[in-house]
Amino acid sequence: MALSGMRGLSVFISDVRNCRNKEQERLRVDKELGNIRTRFKNEKGLTPYEKKKYVWKMLYIYMLGYDVDFGHMEAVSLISAPKYPEKQVGYIVTSCLLNENHDFLRLAINAVRNDIIGRNETFQCLALTLVGNIGGREFAESLAPDVQKLLLSSSCRPLVRKKAALCLLRLFRKNSDVVNVDGWSDRMAQLLDERDLGVLTSSMSLFVALVANNHEAYWSCLPKCVKIMERLARNQDVPQEYTYYGIPSPWLQVKTMRALQYFPTIEDPSIRRALFEVLQRILMGTDVVKNVNKNNASHAVLFEALALVMHLDSEKEMMSQCVALLGKFIAVREPNIRYLGLENMTRMLMVTDVHEIIKRHQAQIITSLKDPDISIRRRSLDLLYGMCDVSNAKDIVEELLQYLATADFAMREELALKAAILAEKFAPDLSWYVDVILQLIDKAGDFVSDDIWFRVVQFVTNNEDLQPYAALKAREYLDKPAIHETMVKVSAYLLGEYSHLLARRPGCSPKEIFAIIHEKLPTVSTPTIPILLSTYAKILMHSQPPDPELQNQIWAVYSKYESCIDAEIQQRAVEYFALSKKGAALMDILAEMPKFPERQSSLIKKAEDTDADTAELSAIKLRAQQQTSNALVATDQRPTNGAPQVSQLGMVMIPSTSDAEHNAVDQGLTQANGVSVNDAPPTADMLGDLLSPLAIEGPPAVSTQLDHNGVHGHEGTNGADDALALAPVENQESTVQPIGDIAERFQALCLKDSGVLYEDPYVQIGIKAEWRGHQGRFVLFLGNKNTAPLDSVHAVILSPSHLKLELSLVPEVIPPRAQVQCPLEVVNLRPSRDVAVLDFSYKFGSSLVNNKLRLPAVLNKFLQPIQVSAEEFFSQWRSLAGPPLKLQEVVRGVRPMSLGEMANLLNSLRLMVCPGLDPNASNLVASTTFYSESTRAMLCLVRIETDPADRTQLRMTVASGDPALTFELKEFIKEHLVIIPTTAKPPAPAPQAAPTPPIASSDPGALLAGLL
């Protein structure tokens, strides 16, 4: 046994090791802690060596899982020790024992800073590492500039710089407001030119964080990353020390390809080609070799390359290769590769449309569902869940059901839930759905939540054809000797409602149904009894002519429960008893339940709640986003007051269609407001279900999942909950703040055709547009900047009446760091300045982020600048004699600009300035063609007369062959001329008494004509 340099420490460690049980260990540790405490107390006699020894003991004890609540001061104080060994211990133990919020850490800031700015590079390294591991805000504030300097310093050795890179990464991540990275793209590009692979590895981590935060700023670094990949792939200039089993630093390769995945696309064809060459080489050239380390390392690189191809290959040049490789991987024996094959196939499903190809591997994937390794089974389950659609739902769900019987405990609930969701989503016919759920309850009743059986009831209630079948099935299950209580609930409910449809079948008379259900009553728990009581009431009502014997049996049950201690049971017993004496009235009151309002599944909500293991959730989320449940929204938001904050809607100009939404929001909120969530037992709502027709006519407002509060369905009728999807609007003051000014971005996009429309820490929406006449086409680039999938993505276009907008399907999930492109077709019907709005929302964690973004499908996009000769211009100008075809206005509050600037502005609005047409040098004349379906191509002429003495006012004349166009165009130009076009209201029209501009003395048309 090698002894450490610190004898006392070694002795202590072997003492602990020799302890025969936990109790002895505890005693030994307590003794040592007492010893250390005493030593620290009389600090006089403590040498640095002793201090070091005791501090290590503390760390050892802490690692064993014992609380060490003293001595932190001593650890921190070692940081200021003059000699390296003590200092090193001080740094390492401090960063193990303390966290960034620890008060003692503050004491060390000065010492740490001295080490960082000092000359001793080993000290620098220690200090940088500590800050890199636990540095908090105060460190960022006092050290960030120094650390940046070290990183970029050319005189610093690599060993310091690589630590500075990661130290800066920490400071940036923790306090991005303190660490200013504006303008870092150049420095980053310079860092990526680094030859030293250690520095490069660290810098790449820093780069990933920066580019994840804002890739736009780092386009210039993209070619550098590709260069690095080329250098590594060709093994050029890679020192032996950085080659791992013949592979040039696999970690740096992986990191670099990770960084590249933050860029939405690579536009430069030559860079793209260079990268794809490298990727192709990796994809083709990775062979299975004997040496396991080499194999792992090369496959680490290969899997990262696959991910990058999936991300970038929108052209699908290499996608089929990827699928083929993954298909191979999921069939190999090597478990790691198989695991990763399944995982990446699931990822691929999210990125591209490869369902059909992946379906070919279904049998193989199902085999993995039975693998002895739970990690692989989970991946397989996720993949099956993700690849399920109508065509294969039956096979997959049946596999899941079969597996359920033998599945481990840990997976059953998830399995049951997934099977239920898939059955519901992709049921080829509803009777199959009922079969699946009943089987599910039968096989894994403990894992079938109430939501699942509530959902069956909804389906059956809403589908008349299904009712006899469901009742029959329920009846069959009751014959089984021991059935799960959930099965008792669901079959009792179904038979109460629909057993009369079976009356002619053997064993299905009211009496027999009652008998077989009542048989279960002694075995069920309290919450189930009320359901049975309701069922009895229904059976009684359906037995026509009344059967006195049955009646007496049921009355006996009611009278037994009349004094039940459970209020719910007692109330039902008393009420049903009284009702059943009413004769004919009973028929009306206990009539069959009306249909439930259509609603989406709350199972998905349930799926998200099983959050214990987020890893296994990925696929559930994936699906969930494809089917956002209304119920989910209502329960998640928990509005505290019902006042709809429609003001949020008014934030931007909303076209007229939004009225309906306002109402919808109203309703949604009122509905949600009355509902307390999830806590009350389901019994109450079952009562509500049965009794609601007493109070109101029409559909029962009681949803089995939602109204668990015993509202008894008095509120929220008329399918108000269908509108709940809009409820999140009130949650808009969520913490997710947009990056950059939305209004400014919009303004910029009005003048150009591509750029960023919206950005926040998680999402970036880019836009690219093409215009042709009165038609246009946007491509929305929805990018997930996040490392987790983006859920519940919704994009709805609120289009003004003059535009016809058609948005292609927006996927509800955006995979991590992926970007999806959604084309949006635009047709301009007539001139208008109204703006189309993109209502974009997504879910991050539990908060819903919603934004209403104006789309730059604005008037000038339908303009085509046209050069006209003087002759054409004047003849037109004259023929458009006056209002309403030619309008003139004096505009005040104009943003002061030179004539040249104004000409540029007009040109950028696609109004072609025709120099020389107007001999007055202070005037501008412009022409353009406007396209819309109603106006066709229409020539527009504009004249602006400025006052050199007062740049804040001007006179504008606009003429065209269409009165509406003339007006709209005039207003439009005005909006762009006055200060801050969007937010500031255009100045009020000049009052009559306003001082006349010098040039306004006569009609400009005439003036122009005269000048001719």
């Binding site: 060994p85 692979l197 696999p250 899997f303 890893a615």
Partner: protein
Amino acid sequence: MGIRFILMVNKQGQTRLAQYYEYLTLEERRALEGEIVRKCLARNEQQCSFVEHRNYKIVYRRYASLFFLVGVDNEENELAILEFIHLLVETMDRHFGNVCELDIMFHLEKAHFMLEEMVMNGCIVETSKTNILAPIQLMDKAS
């Protein structure tokens, strides 16, 4: 953010080294280590090296009596981490010469020094064994 923790645990489930790159309270650590050790140590050679647990993915590797367990987030490249473990072991091998559990146990500080050179704030700093070991050798010479 990459690596969340690195554990070295022997096959009796005793922690020999624990390095966290995110702050967890002592209770959280104890619970987490217990759960992970129970999950991973029960696995056999034919099973894969990845275990999903809570928000983590555990990438682990066994060397004789010692398990190396690395907790990463869902965004890490699993195989790269698996080989990083091996790199760590090779580095220790170079220093100790055929490293064993006792080396790590009785030279906890050296194991920490090495890790400190290799990982910082959950990111890989250095993969060259020579560079990783340089400071330790410097110190050994000095003492």
